[in-house]
Subunit: 189 residues, 2 copies
């Protein structure tokens, strides 16, 4: 957050522009002074013309959703620890570590702010949800391949993922130690 | 959501103005077409001059936070069912019912959008959180008075409240039946 000037408008590939715009979203969401999030501000920070951001993404909601899905896909897959319990604890440890960084909290804020709108169809919502849960689905698939019996995705959502989000929403600190194991043992209990 | 015109600018008490502004926030957040949420739009809908909204609340974040805290306080307390399990199930049933109305979902969206900002102090955040958890704290206090041993607030947050929020964030429907009992029995183990 040290440089405020837009990046120089050198020739960039569409993929580089996309990455720069996503990074600008995360930067603005992690700004300590709570900067306002809108497409002109994002475009300026990314060094992109705001009309091309509107043309490419259409709306702030769609841009937030694309940022989140891309970042979450980039962060998966996780290493195979050899067991369902180990994989889930590794996932939760990575989440705890991430929530202790401004960028990690910014990503969670972006997920929350890109809540599905009521105009989205049920199948759009379901597709977006599946893409975002890809790392958890991979953990479930590995467990099945080992002959383990993983809980349904919705149970993992309610008991393992939900606590991270609720604590971000209410600004409650995560317990310093033992939280990943606590949540996973409760889930598998 | 049928009337789009601002309310007539008759003489209203400060408390009536406050209620009208809160209602305008909820109305805009429950608009099916996903209207943009900003102070001028809220003021117009409430039939109030936007400068007085800025003067009274200072920012959209503060207005959202005040709306949420006021509404949640208004909705508590819940009836005493005679047991901790019964009270928690009643709380969860009321939450399920509320999430099936546009206004209930709008309130959850408002809670989520009024996430504490990084500029808020730890003690401001803690105070806001306690006010919002008042109905759950009342349930805990009644249980203690009966000689029951309720789980800590943070366990109730992670296991009972968090699932409602995560499903709103991801647009996942709540199970049609048995969900309140499932969550409460899991919590009370």
């Amino acid at each position: 957050m040290n440089r405020k000037e837009p990046a120089p408008r050198t020739r960039r590939s569409p993929e580089q522009v996309r990455t720069a715009v996503h990074q600008a979203v995360i930067d603005l969401l992690s700004a300590p002074e709570g900067e306002e999030l809108n497409i002109p501000a994002i475009a300026q920070r990314a060094g992109v013309n705001h009309t091309s951001v509107y043309r490419r993404w259409g709306s702030l909601d769609a841009l937030l959703a694309d940022t989140v899905t891309t970042r979450l896909e980039r962060d998966s897959p996780l290493n195979d620890t050899g067991s369902l319990r180990g994989d889930l604890i590794a996932w939760a440890e990575a989440s705890v570590a991430s929530m202790h960084t401004p960028q990690g909290r910014a990503l969670v804020r972006a997920v929350i702010l890109s809540m599905p709108s009521s105009t989205q169809t049920q199948s759009d919502r379901a597709g977006q949800f599946r893409r975002r849960m890809r790392s958890i689905e991979q953990i479930r698939e590995r467990a099945v391949a080992r002959g383990e019996d993983p809980p349904p995705l919705e149970e993992i959502l309610d008991q393992l993922i939900a606590p991270f989000y609720i604590r971000t929403i209410f600004g409650i600190d995560l317990p310093a130690t033992g939280y990943p194991e606590l949540l996973v043992d409760r889930l598998l209990g």
